[in-house]
C-alpha cells in the first residue's frame, strides 16, 4: 500500500511577518506639540535629551530628559503607532528638572522632547535612535 500525502504550504507561509506598524503620522506629532505649547514659538536647545544612538532592543530604551528651569517636559516618539511617550510635570520640590525612564520604540526614529519653562517659553530638541529590534508589538 502506498500512501502519499502532500501538504501544500502555499497559502500558509509559516513565517510571514508583516510590519503591523501604521505609517507614522508626523502631523499627529505636530498636533501634540501644538497642544502642549498652545502654538507658541519654540527655541531649539535648552532641553537635553540623552538616548542611545543605537538601541539593541526597542522594547526598553533608556532615555533621560533634563532642562534647567522647566516645569514640564513632554517626550514624543515620532515613529511609534502612538507618538506620545510621557509628560513629566515637575513640582516645587523637584531638585532638578531631570528624569530618567525606559521607553518602547517601534523602529528607528526621532525622539522629540519639548520643555515648558517656568517663564512660559518653550524649548525643543530631538534625537535619532536606531533600533535593531522593534518594540510596540513588533
Amino acid at each position: 500500500m502506498e500512501f502519499t500525502r502532500r501538504e501544500t504550504m502555499a497559502t500558509g507561509g509559516a513565517a510571514v511577518l508583516t510590519a503591523m506598524m501604521p505609517v507614522p503620522s508626523f502631523a499627529m506629532v505636530d498636533d501634540l506639540v501644538d497642544e502642549f505649547t498652545g502654538g507658541a514659538d519654540m527655541a531649539e536647545g535648552g532641553v537635553n535629551l540623552v538616548a542611545p544612538e543605537i538601541a539593541e532592543n526597542g522594547n526598553t530604551v533608556p532615555i533621560e530628559v533634563s532642562a534647567d528651569g522647566a516645569v514640564a517636559i513632554m517626550v514624543l516618539a515620532t515613529g511609534n503607532p502612538l507618538p506620545p511617550v510621557a509628560t513629566f510635570n515637575f513640582g516645587p520640590l523637584a531638585g532638578e528638572s531631570r528624569a530618567k525612564t525606559r521607553i518602547r520604540l517601534a523602529g528607528t526614529q526621532d525622539i522629540v522632547a519639548v520643555a515648558k519653562m517656568a517663564d512660559g517659553s518653550f524649548a525643543r530638541t530631538q534625537k535619532t535612535v536606531k533600533v535593531t529590534i522593534g518594540g510596540c508589538g513588533g
Binding site: A86, F88, N89, G91, L93, A94, T101, R104, C136, G137
Partner: protein, 109 residues
C-alpha cells in the same frame, strides 16, 4: 487588577537639609500597550499604569503622565530637594482604577 504588581523604591535614609537626593523607583507591571496581537490575531487590550506621582509631605516632586510607549516594569529616576524629615509618597495609577502606593521615610539632619 494586574497580577504581581510590586513597587520597589530606592530613597536615601538620611540627608542634610537642602540636599538634592536622587530617587529611583520601579514597579513590576506588564504595561500591555494595546498594540500587540495574540496568536489568533486579536488585539490584546491595553492595560498600563497611566500616571505616577511622587510627593514629600504633600508637596509634589514629580507627576508623570504615562502612555503605552513606557516600557514594561516602568522605571523612573529623578531628583528631589529635601529640607526636613518626612515621608515620600509614591503613587501609581493603573488603567483599571487600581492605585499602588509606597511610602518611604527620610531623616533629615
Amino acid at each position: 487588577m494586574a497580577k504581581g504588581v510590586r513597587p520597589r523604591v530606592k530613597v536615601p535614609k538620611t540627608a542634610s537639609s537642602g540636599d538634592v537626593v536622587t530617587i529611583k523607583c520601579l514597579i513590576s507591571h506588564k504595561m500591555e500597550s494595546g498594540q500587540r496581537k495574540d496568536k489568533e490575531g486579536n488585539k490584546i487590550p491595553r492595560s498600563i499604569i497611566n500616571r505616577f506621582t511622587c510627593s514629600l509631605a504633600g508637596e509634589t516632586i514629580i507627576d508623570v503622565a504615562m502612555e503605552p510607549a513606557i516600557s514594561t516594569n516602568p522605571y523612573f529616576e529623578f531628583d528631589a530637594t529635601v529640607t526636613e524629615s518626612g515621608d515620600f509618597k509614591f503613587v501609581w495609577h493603573d488603567d483599571d482604577g487600581s492605585v499602588y502606593e509606597e511610602v518611604k521615610t527620610i531623616q533629615v539632619a
